[in-house]
Amino acid sequence: MNWEPPLFQDLHQIPREEHVFPGAPLCAGCGGLESLRLASKVLGPHVVYVNAAGCFTNLATFPFTPLDASWLYTTMGSAPAGAQGVRDALDVLIAKGRLPKEEDVTVVVLGGDGSTYDMALSSTSGAITRKLDFYYFCYDNEAYGNTGVQLSPSTPYGAKTTTSPCAVQRPVGATQEKKDIFEIWRAHNPPYVATVSPRFPLDLEEKFVRAANYRGPRLFLGFAACPTGWLFDPAHTPDVARLAVECGLWPLKEAVNGEVVHTHFPKLSPVEDYLKLQGRFRHLFEPIVQKEAIAHIQDRVNTYWERVKQTEQKS
């Protein structure tokens, strides 16, 4: 394993300063907000957040804002294009001497999975190809959450959403496989791509610190356990986030200049542990146990980690 000794080894190293303040009207127990708050502790206050429409629309409801940074709101499909505009404007101002170089700010795109995996994919692709110097933070709750939990390309096999119900024709719910956006991003060869989970705060902080060493597109995929959409008690947000990692469904990894390294090797508990906690998978267990569907999910996890072990443990 070539994950270098992390800077963050103790929870007490997490900065006490807050940059995402309380009072935002996001749901109680929002996993996405949890990640953003931790990420912002490393990103700091000198940031322009370019926010694609989504749940995070609720962050800044006029006249209130929880951010001590700037916030620009865009449509679902155009946040990376908005980031390009902000970055270019800053560059021009600095070149003309109208903005001191030390007052430069970081441009951070916030997008949900509906935006990231679906509507803004071409915009993101363009931004990475143009080597835009920005961060992309996707809070992935595996559905179009803000509009009432509809199927998105991020929805995993077997999950129930309002547009992929457990029906006679499709008793498993969603029959698609979750789109592998990490690999799509990586194929563009950006300097830094990583997945994070707020239940692994040290890993999350570490990755944001590491990303700061690079220029160009730095993309993060954040696990956003969603009590409202995944139908579990908000108190279980940490459990769901932990089990997603420990069951192998949400691998924690990074890719520096295209080279993938897994930063946490889970103990690979049975996927049932993770599925059973959530109402969106309940139809796989009741009234009859859909053994094939569960085995299918488990198989894909096993195949993934087999491949990881073969490729990464050689080095």
């Binding site: 009072g23 127990g29 609720n58 947000t237």
Partner: protein, 301 residues
């Protein structure tokens, strides 16, 4: 026509309760209509839902401004001006509040017209279903009883509506049992019939600024903290400092940032910023954080 208005917090089941009553009324041969209203704020934030039932087709639409029955799922909503619980409540309205207090005790605290009646639904849900969660079936049963629907139709309506939400058969049965208990336990107040009055509603057209002024900008720093979200809670985390080992897991995992670290390195919960998700209780390795039900006494702090 009878008009029932439900008030709750997102996630408590006010919307589903309105559907249960609507379905039960429909099963008894009434014409029924139900609809919820909520803004962008969801789970934990104030929500209202409406049910209308009548023998003849219902022409009225939209929010219920003059309810016959108001069902309040959370007593803390009474003090929330944004929830507008008492709007349109007059001397003939029946007001039901989920509260551990009796109607007399509660009416001493709130200045509401109408007939007040209470039942401790949260306690019943904890005892009979053993968990914190939605109390939609219980709210539905209470409302159904107050408007004179039969227990059997409520029973059937709960089965239909909760099955649609994908709840397990065993959970639905628990809900039906608890609902039956509430149906029989709720103190019934005689419903006075009255003529519906229609009141023209004045439309508030917002005053837009001239486009030449440009868009309004916020140039202040983070100001969301001046809004209290403490009213979202039905349960609150309580820290026992003697059991705390100072690991900071709660601080790291609070989505809100409502837990701060004091100069001595120990955490402290700032309740006006706590939405009551209880993630901190879940991650606490030493049981220093416990859960307490939000009551009229605690919600003031």
């Amino acid at each position: 026509m009878l008009a029932i208005r439900f008030h709750g917090r997102g996630g408590q089941g006010a919307k589903t309760a309105s559907r249960i009553v609507g379905t039960a009324a429909f099963l008894e041969g009434f014409v029924a209509q139900d609809s919820p209203i909520y803004g962008a704020e969801r789970r934990g934030a104030p929500v209202a839902a409406f049910t209308r039932m009548a023998k003849a087709p219902i022409r009225e639409r939209g929010i219920i401004a003059h309810p016959d029955v108001v069902v309040v799922a959370d007593a803390s909503l009474m003090g929330d001006p944004a929830a507008k619980v008492l709007e349109g409540v007059d001397g003939k309205t029946i007001l039901f509040v989920n509260s551990p207090m009796s109607a007399e005790q509660l009416s001493a605290q709130i200045s509401a017209r109408g007939h007040l009646t209470t039942l401790n639904l949260t306690e019943i849900a904890l005892q009979r279903m053993g968990k914190r969660g939605a109390i939609s079936a219980l709210l539905g049963a209470v409302a159904g009883r107050l408007v004179g629907l039969r227990q059997e139709s409520i029973h059937e309506a709960i089965a239909r509506e909760l099955a649609e939400l994908g709840l397990a058969a065993s959970v639905i049965e628990q809900n039906q049992d608890a609902a039956k208990y509430c149906y029989e336990a709720v103190p019934v107040v005689a419903l006075e019939s009255r003529a519906r009055q229609t009141v023209p509603v004045a439309l508030h057209i917002p005053a837009y600024e001239s486009p030449t002024r440009g868009t309004a900008g916020i140039t202040v720093g983070p100001n969301s903290g001046i809004r209290s979200v403490g009213g979202w809670r039905t349960f609150r985390p309580v820290l026992r400092p003697d059991l705390c080992n100072g690991c900071w897991l709660c601080f790291a995992n609070c989505p809100e940032g409502a837990i701060t670290i004091k100069p001595d390195g120990r955490p402290a919960i700032y309740y006006p910023h706590c939405k009551g998700c209880l993630d901190c209780v879940e991650v606490c390795p030493t049981d220093a954080l416990t859960v307490e039900r939000e009551t009229e006494a605690t919600s003031k702090t």
